[in-house]
């Protein structure tokens, strides 16, 4: 990271580099898996189905789930 002062210099913005899809593929697969787990825990755990017993997880993040728009009880 450069010194902030250099940001004031009129530097033309260079074209953004493309990251090769081959490089991205494993991250995207991992990301998709993570997304499903996330959506499951914030969105569905102890609503329709349950991994952790009881309703503690459900009740703890209750308000966030409602306000984020997920179906809840």
């Amino acid at each position: 990271m450069a010194h902030p002062a250099v940001l004031d210099a009129p530097v033309a913005r260079p074209a953004l580099p493309k990251i090769p899809l081959r490089e991205l593929a494993p991250f995207m697969i991992f990301g998709s898996m993570l997304m499903m787990v996330l959506l499951y825990f914030v969105g569905a755990e102890q609503g329709a189905v349950s991994v952790v017993g009881g309703s503690y997880v459900h009740e703890f993040v209750h308000d966030a789930r409602h306000l984020l728009g997920f179906p809840c009880h």
Binding site: M1, A2, V6, L7, A9, V11, A12, R13, P14, A15, L16, P17, K18, I19, L21, E23, L24, F27, M28, G31, L34, M35, L38, L39, F41, V42, G43, A44, G47, A48, V49, G54, S55, Y56, E59, F60, V61, H62, D63, A64, R65, H66, L67, L68, G69, F70, P71, C72, H73
Partner: protein
């Protein structure tokens, strides 16, 4: 190459969660409170209901924040991966515009389109017996919306050479509207708002839900774009100084991406 983007995405997600918490507290919690008052009155009249394992105070503070934080950090990380796929592939667009467009697509695909079919509901709306069905319908709708939005973006890029960027974007939006409209038409409806539930509370709750989600996505998209643009420019500045001076080679590609 992806490391700095992923770290930035998750940090931006934390900021998004903090701002979303403020919006949720300001706009949302009062409506949740009204809805719970309605529910308690109904339960008392029917003689049902029971003790809750988590108090309202916990739910509306630390519980709310924990849920938003988990959601924000994960979403920020996922956003950065989507950004990494998009960067450099949208013609001459810079980091800020690219990040803003990716966030807009995410907001529309993950929240707005599914929510128009199956809107957010405050507590006391919804039959517990149908939660399984409603959950799968919501996620089905989300999956369709997300797939259609991503497909629309890719198609717009493909068509751009042939029809021009503007017309290609319009065609893709039209295609998205048609497919999502068909999904709206064929997926079953849910009518579970109880008799006598105050319409104002329902409306305000849904507006609050929209505001919370818009805050998350706008913060992630705009802040991530600003920080990435800054990093790109400072890398370019270092590179140009290097070329004039000691002749440091490499630059943006190694430093930034």
């Amino acid at each position: 190459m992806i490391r700095p983007l992923l770290i930035r995405g998750m940090l931006v997600g934390v900021v998004a969660a903090v701002l979303a918490f403020i919006v949720a507290k300001t706009l949302g919690e009062s409506q949740v409170g009204h809805a719970i008052a309605f529910e308690s009155a109904r339960d008392a009249a029917e003689g049902t209901g029971g003790t809750e394992p988590v108090t309202r105070t916990v739910q509306s503070t630390i519980g709310l924040f924990t849920g938003l934080l988990a959601f924000g950090v994960a979403l920020g990380g996922l956003f950065s991966l989507a950004y990494a796929c998009t960067q450099g592939r949208l013609g001459a667009l810079g980091a800020r515009a690219t990040a803003a467009l990716v966030a807009l697509a995410g907001f529309v695909g993950m929240y707005l389109l599914p929510d128009l079919k199956y809107p957010a509901n405050p507590p006391s709306i919804g039959n517990p017996d149908t939660i399984g069905e409603r959950t799968s319908l919501y996620f089905t709708m989300m999956l369709i919306s997300l797939a259609v939005v991503i497909g629309g973006c890719v198609t717009a890029r493909r068509f751009a050479a042939r029809f021009g960027t503007w017309d290609a974007a319009l065609l893709s939006v039209a295609g998205t509207v048609v497919i999502v409209g068909l999904a709206y038409y064929f997926l079953p409806r849910v009518h579970e708002t109880p008799e006598g539930f105050p319409a104002d509370v329902l409306w305000r709750f849904r507006v609050a839900s929209l505001a919370v989600n818009a805050t998350v996505w706008a913060t992630i998209g705009l802040l991530f774009g600003a920080l990435t643009d800054r990093a790109v420019r400072s890398a370019a500045a270092v590179a140009s100084t290097g070329e004039r001076g000691v002749g440091v080679t490499g630059s943006l590609v190694t430093t930034e991406a």
